[in-house]
């Protein structure tokens, strides 16, 4: 079981992700360059957070056209695990591998703080192990999840809302949804449930000394992934 951590120019969470996977989640992981054309030898892919191409035009728009995305799309089709965190989530949406888009936070402010999350779907590859409320950081300016009303209804009906922002201790429901996301959506799944896009950073919450190790509950789902045939 080996995870490909895709490196894009302008991403800045690739090292965190590799470290979190290897040293905290104890999962084999390696970097793969965005201009590579093959994910042969890997069983899962992680698209890290950051500011690919300086967030020019739209966050993730340019990275979504990288050659390696054809392989990420193949993984998505074949049911292999794919996770996009923050900018990685934006890239997956821009590439059409997840529905919807991430827009500027409702209050036009870069948000860097801990949030609380609840898994809505409890049966997908990524969420079946998540039964408790998770705490982990967000760090984004464009994290307000939007989609047209029909798509939101479909996501609800098909149980594809992976995570929602929920109030932490003493927090009001309004404060709990930091960016004004539709229905407080923090993460969504593709139809098969093997592709997860999530705005909060599980790779930044993998040790108690970081304030939380709840991110491991998401990353360690990868331990259950089958090795590629």
């Amino acid at each position: 079981m080996k995870v490909a951590v895709i490196r894009f120019p302008g991403a800045n969470c690739d090292q965190d992700a590799l470290h979190a996977l290897r040293d905290d989640a104890h999962i084999d992981a390696e970097y793969v360059w965005h201009e590579d054309h093959s994910l042969r030898g890997y069983d899962a892919a992680l698209l890290p957070g950051g500011f690919t191409y300086g967030d020019y035009l739209r966050c993730g728009a340019m990275a979504a056209g990288a050659p390696i995305l054809d392989e990420v799309a193949r993984f998505a089709r074949e049911g292999r695990p794919v996770i996009g965190v923050c900018n990685g989530f934006q890239i997956l949406c821009e590439a059409g591998l997840l529905p919807g888009a991430l827009m500027a936070n409702a209050k036009q402010k870069f948000l860097c703080r801990d949030v609380h999350l609840q898994a809505v779907n409890r049966s997908s590859f990524w969420t079946r192990g998540v039964t408790k409320t998770l705490r982990m950081p967000i760090a984004h300016l464009e994290g307000r999840y939007v989609a047209d009303p029909d798509t939101i209804c479909r996501l609800e009906d098909e149980d594809r809302i992976a995570f929602r922002y929920v109030p932490g201790p003493g927090e009001s429901p309004e404060d709990a949804n930091p960016n004004g996301a539709t229905h407080a959506i923090a993460g969504v799944l593709n139809e098969k449930g093997n592709v997860l896009g999530i705005m909060p950073h599980p790779e930044r919450a993998t040790r108690k000394i970081l304030g939380s190790d709840d991110g491991l509950l998401i990353l360690r789902a990868l331990c259950a992934a089958k090795a590629a045939a």
Partner: protein, 77 residues
């Protein structure tokens, strides 16, 4: 060489948080008549030869995101 302008705007149903901030600032400057401001993008392209179909393709593939944006193409000269 043909100069083409692509105007990209957010779909009317979506909250434009930057536009709302700008509207608030204009109102504070005394422009009480202002009801709304929405911010879009202007992208100028120079192409040779010009093909309407290929410029539309550029918009659909990269310049605009159909989930949140509309676009309009204007041939300048």
């Amino acid at each position: 060489m043909t100069k083409v302008r692509v105007y990209v705007t957010l779909k009317p149903s979506l909250l434009d948080s930057a536009g709302r901030t700008v509207a608030g600032a204009l109102q504070k400057l005394g422009y009480e008549e202002l009801e709304e401001a929405r911010i879009g993008k202007l992208i100028e392209l120079q192409v040779d030869p010009y093909s309407e179909a290929r410029v539309k393709e550029m918009c659909d593939k990269l310049l605009a995101n159909p989930v949140i944006e509309d676009y309009r193409v204007e041939v300048v000269a």
